[in-house]
């Protein structure tokens, strides 16, 4: 019964995610040479979000977990997004 609940990821899939994260990190560094003006923070956050998504989904097994945990993580990310959003809206409205 317990075994059915625990998904065991294959080595290859974890390796692919790891390589994906390395590539994204490389892009994060290289992209600093390009000037996106007011969007520079947004681009950095986008890349960080993709990396965070990969870690949460595969390394932390969220993809294979109960929906309640996905909902809780979503709510927390939503909270974080609102907090960051309010902060940057303040910058835009000044």
């Amino acid at each position: 019964m317990e075994d059915k609940k625990h998904h065991i990821s294959s080595f290859n899939s974890l390796l692919m995610v790891l390589i994906g994260l390395f590539i994204m990190t490389g892009i994060s560094v290289m992209i600093t040479e390009i000037h996106f003006s007011t969007f520079s923070v947004g681009v950095a956050l986008l890349l960080a979000s993709i990396k965070g998504y990969l870690v949460l989904t595969y390394f932390m097994h969220l993809k294979y977990d109960e929906p309640i945990f996905r909902i809780m993580v979503f709510l927390i990310l939503l909270l974080f997004a609102i907090v960051i959003g309010i902060t940057f809206i303040d910058y835009l409205l000044r």
Partner: protein
Amino acid sequence: MESTQATNHVSYLQHKPHKIGILNWILSTDHKRIGLLYLYSIMVFFIVAAFLGLLMRIEKFAPGETIMDAQTYNGVFTVHGIIMIFIIVIPGLAAVFGNFFLPILIGAKDVAFPKLNLFSWYIYIAGAILALISQFASGGAPDTGWTFYVPYSADSSTNVIWALTAAFILGFSSILTGLNFIVTIHRLRAPGMSWFRMPLFPWSIYATSWIQVLATPIVGITLLMVIAERTLNIGFFDPALGGDPILFQHLFWIYSHPAVYIMILPAMGVVTEIFPTFSQKPIFGYSAIALSSVAIAAVGYFVWGHHMFTTGISYWSRWFFSFLTFIVAVPSAIKVFNWISTMYGGSIDLKPPLLWAIGFIFLFMIGGLTGLVLGALATNVHVHDTTFVVAHFHYIIFGGMGFAFFAGLHYWFPKMFGKMYNIKLANISFIITFIGFNVLYFPLFIIGLQGMPRRYFDYFPEYQYGHVISTIGAFILIIGIFIMLFNFFRGARKGEIAPANPWKGVTLDWQIESPPTLLNFDEIPVITEKPYTFKKEEEA
């Protein structure tokens, strides 16, 4: 529920698996001993920080330099703030009473992760020691205030990095404790204890824990950013490096305003346990109190900007934060009305815990209502960075959290130590502390309204009357606290043996022995009714 009183049981204090006494404390994973470890640590630091506060008041007894120069004063108020906020008030109630009573109140034998719990205390002590080192290492005590505002904190030649690192480490302790409590409440409630059969102190700890887990990382990262700016010259906050100092204030208060609720929510939980017991009456509005804790935690997340009305944030941000500040007053007021309604028509027994809890309501209300003066845009500008803010803050933190802490100590002392303190002396210490508190802090409202700035070691002669009264109040307050501590020490050593249920409480903590056994319960209780169900004597 049947009492599990038995004469042959060994209390947690008598359970000593190690021959060397100190090891029974620093290696114990028992939630009760860890609660006491926090209590003793906090008391030591409280005495140090209170002494620094007294020195500040003595300095301000007269205009000009009295007992210290301006730079020393800057260091003293910073150290006072860092110790009080990060080492005492933020962990305070949750770490002491949460650790000791959360598992007992939900019918569990311990927290979900006992080893992690002990590890959290080690992290706490490491952070606290680092904070102390920052005061004495070469370079001088940090002089930025506990808020570490940039650009000054990025430039100050004092030991700011040490203090920032200390606060960063202390944050980890807070996160791990919060995580432990969330899992404990989700997984270890006794059979039959549904969410709405859970006592209200665990509810408040639950709401607090979420704030600890979700908000603390933000300040951790922010403090690291200041360290990076100082050491690596990365321009996060310094305009000369392309940064923005207001961003620091945003990030700092995104954590530090919810942190006020980390401080006050467990305090509200403690007094919510006290009012039904000393009124011998079920709590009024159980669901409203439970959900208002969650509402305070949720709305409290979005009001941080009211610390920044004068910094130049946008008009719409000011409007938004001011509006939400008024909204967050609603769930707080719900609790106050429910506490008073609980006492109405009850069989009130005016014992020390209830006295402290009533004192809490009185002082918290003054703090809360003056908070509305600060939450309103127009009046905020007038009193910003004056001693009005200092008075408001101390009425909330000391009058609120501090008085609730003392209320909790008087309430649960017989359970924690199995001894009684002297009731008469406890009443005297309450009266002296209450008078001293108001004489100390109320004049700061008045001279603040007249324009006395905060964090100034000198002042114009027209403010002297307020400072003199305030300093006299500080001495009265210290006397009251000293009597209280003396009463506790005397009670713990020579006090009468406390019965299992001296206050006729009905929650699970009062159904077990005083002091509790190692695993709290002989058998995990099965919960069949709501908490705070008082039965008539013939029914009982």
